[in-house]
Amino acid sequence: MSALAIELTEITKNFGNVCANKDVSLKVESGTIHGIIGENGAGKSTLMSILYGFYQADSGTISVQEKPVQIQNAHDAISVGIGMVHQHFMLVDTFTVLENVVLGTETGFSLKKSLETSKLELQRLEKEYHLEVDINAVIDTLPVGLQQRVEILKALYRGADILILDEPTGVLTPQEADHLFRILAELREQGKTVILITHKLREIMAITDNVSVMRQGEMVAHLKTAETNREELAELMVGRKVLLRVDKAAANPGKPVLTVEHLDFTDASGVHRVKDVSFKVHSGEIVGIAGVSGNGQSELLAAITGIQPLQKGMIQINDESITPASKADAATMRRFGMVHVPEDRQRMGLVTSFSAKENSILGYHNDPAYNGLFEMDRDAIHSTCQRGMEIYDVRPNNLNLRASLFSGGNQQKLVVAREMERDPDLLVIGQPTRGVDIGAIEFIHRQIISMRDAGKAVLLVSVELDEILSLSDRILVMFAGQIMGEVLASTANERDIGLLMAGIKQEAA
């Protein structure tokens, strides 16, 4: 065994009564990519936060490069050579790449001088690790993949030998993710140690040398990636056998529930986001909208669900027509029988400072079932929330807990429970499993299919092509605001869809 970059011994961390890490030990060999996998809430992030000095362990020891260290804060972590790339980037949007990298390490009075010396160093790093970014570009103008590269550069600039990446692909397109993996391999070549935290099995299998599996705060296995497989890892993570494929019967479509005609949308900055989109969703079928993130899917979703006022075109839900003149909002759409699981649960689907209970009626708070003459009927709200949390197995089962304190998967379950339990005619669901753990993904997929089998119409928008392929009956592919083509899921293959996603029409290809 080669030298150890990091050794954690019997780390324990409690938050109140909740044990986030229990006697966790971990050995990371120098010059390897080490995956840490586990469901949301398994304690991966807590463990890394301890390593990076955000939290202090209640007990246990940390050694870096085989020397015991005390890490009290991020500064200590950096000084022993640990760098972290957070899931949500810590960049100043209005600063340039160079300014962001230098931020916090400036010396002397004159910023100009420190920028100049750093410039050379940064250019050297970019070249050495093949991390090309225009150092004078403003962060705002860079795509997410490049922003992430800046985060990596930042860590390297600070002399990191050990790089921790927390769910790095959550915000990336598949292509960007592949590119990231090439960068990580390059870093390994150069002798850096990489710790990759993720819940995606594909990533573990694709890039790591070793993998550690966490479940409910404990380390359950250390494996060599080459000696394991997806099924084994999934079982270790969840603690039981899981189905990685979705089983479903053939669709049985009925009458159209949602009709969209000539929908056009231009955003506030004048960009034409959705161009003349028309399609239908019938009862008893799942229509998937595929496409690389940022090709107008979000805007289409916003227009259909009443988040953005309809500008041009027509939407029909059952027998109700909506035109720009009808000034329909999200409440109107709900009244017509639509429920909506939004793409971004933290920003849109939940008020994270509200309790689970209060969130369980968001959007339905005017329902007479929850209201007396003046005050709301707390018992009715309580029982709605309780039922949803039981059916969808939301953990912890605490109705008064703030939504922000649930893990990502459980937050999603709160939203899905609220919307699906409404018995709608039409379910519109965006990125149903973004940041959600395997156990929950399986569950949410089954729920979507059982909605379909119950004769509901489902419109699914996802940037995960696997998800679109396994759930949908028909697939529409969006590119640059237009629907490039439609394929039947039964005959679809990834190559055709990939071409459409890239904006190449079938005839032309």
Partner: protein, 362 residues
């Protein structure tokens, strides 16, 4: 101890620590001035609580601060920083005064609800305009409400010196209302039960203020309207997602806030001075911001913070009267320190207190 309890304990300890700090620094200033801080504190507390007249004044001031504190808090829960309570109280008070002038021969039980309504309409209007500008045009409420404070001031000076001033009177104020529409003072109310207390400006409005505290509490946390308001205040995107109109709620919050601020007029005009006069609201609106922030924008906290400022006002007046080296400005200094430590430096010792509570919990 669950999370909620621990949180409440932290908040309480943080607030108490900050207030103690403010008083400590005030004490040092008094000591530097060559006076005995301990004596000053005793004088202040005695002035505020020690005898029934002092207590009466304390609660009379408290009444005002409850209204303006609530006015700020309602806006705050909707994500607004309403610093226009000053102007809203002024114009709301105008409504109270006009009702009393017109209907001075009507019975109080009829005039009171009408005065409340007038204060809601006019004070609410004074909040609604900045609310509308914010909701529809995006004008920041801090800027517009400050401007509306000035507009209110000019409107009132003109009305009082040219329209409402009785001929031959020198001072810019209206005539006195008929006694029938005066809100009974506390000593009169106590007399009904055969209890004798000293006459102070404290009047029945204090009870109305307590009712308002209760109603605002129920409104914000127990009704669907309060639910919508809080949703807009914490996450506008989620509000739009839920089909909640952001602009409607902003306007509603400003109208309710303006109406509550207007109730200062009930206490001051209808309950105490019995005439419309210049600057009856002076400073009360601004103090309301501090009251609400120190009280964590919760009605119970607002009650306690309003009481604290009532003590500072009344006890401070007593202090500057009793102790030579301390004048009116000293009181302003103490208030300023309270706002500095409990407001601006609120989280100074928060990490330590959180640690302490955590250790307590385990």
């Amino acid at each position: 101890m669950n999370e909620g309890h621990a949180n409440t304990l932290v908040v309480t300890l943080v607030t108490i620590t900050n207030l103690l700090l403010a008083f400590l620094v005030s004490g040092i200033v008094i000591w530097v001035l060559g006076e005995d801080p301990w004596f000053a504190l005793k004088t202040m507390l005695y002035g505020a609580f020690g005898y029934d007249e002092g207590l009466g004044y304390t609660l009379y001031y408290t009444t005002n601060f409850i209204f303006t504190g609530l006015a700020f808090a309602v806006g705050f829960h909707c994500g607004l920083f309403n610093i226009g309570a000053e102007g809203q109280a002024y114009i709301g008070g105008l409504g109270v005064g006009l009702v009393c002038l017109w209907l001075e021969n009507w019975p109080l039980w009829l005039v009171f609800p009408l005065a409340v309504l007038a204060s809601i309409v006019l004070g609410g209007l004074w909040g609604a305009i900045p609310g509308y500008l914010k909701a529809k045009r995006g004008s920041h409420e801090v800027v517009t409400t400050i401007m509306f404070n000035f507009i209110a001031s000019v409107v009132m000076v003109n009305l009082l010196s040219h329209v409402l001033r009785p001929p031959k009177e020198m001072s810019p104020e209206s005539r006195e209302f008929g006694e029938g529409v005066w809100i009974p003072q506390m000593h009169e109310i106590f007399e009904w039960f055969g209890i004798e207390i000293t006459q102070t400006p404290l009047n029945g409005t204090f009870i109305f203020a307590l009712i308002c505290l209760f109603l605002v509490w129920r409104f914000i946390w127990y009704t669907r309207w309060g639910y919508e308001l809080r949703t807009v205040g914490t996450n506008e995107t989620a509000a739009v997602y839920a089909g909640i109109s952001v602009s409607k709620n902003i306007i509603i919050a400003m109208v309710i806030g303006g109406g509550l601020a207007g109730f200062v007029g009930i206490n001051e005009i209808m309950g105490s001075s019995h005439r419309l006069m210049l600057n009856f609201q002076a400073g009360i609106g601004f103090t309301g911001i501090a009251v609400s922030l120190i009280g964590r924008n919760h009605p119970l906290g607002i009650l306690l913070a309003a009481l604290l400022f009532g003590i500072l006002y009344q006890g401070g007046a007593e202090l500057s009267f009793e102790v030579q080296a301390i004048d009116r400005h000293m009181v302003v200094l103490i208030q300023g320190l309270v706002i500095l430590f409990a407001g601006a430096l609120e989280n100074l010792f928060r990490p330590q207190i959180e640690q302490f509570v955590k250790r307590l919990a385990t």
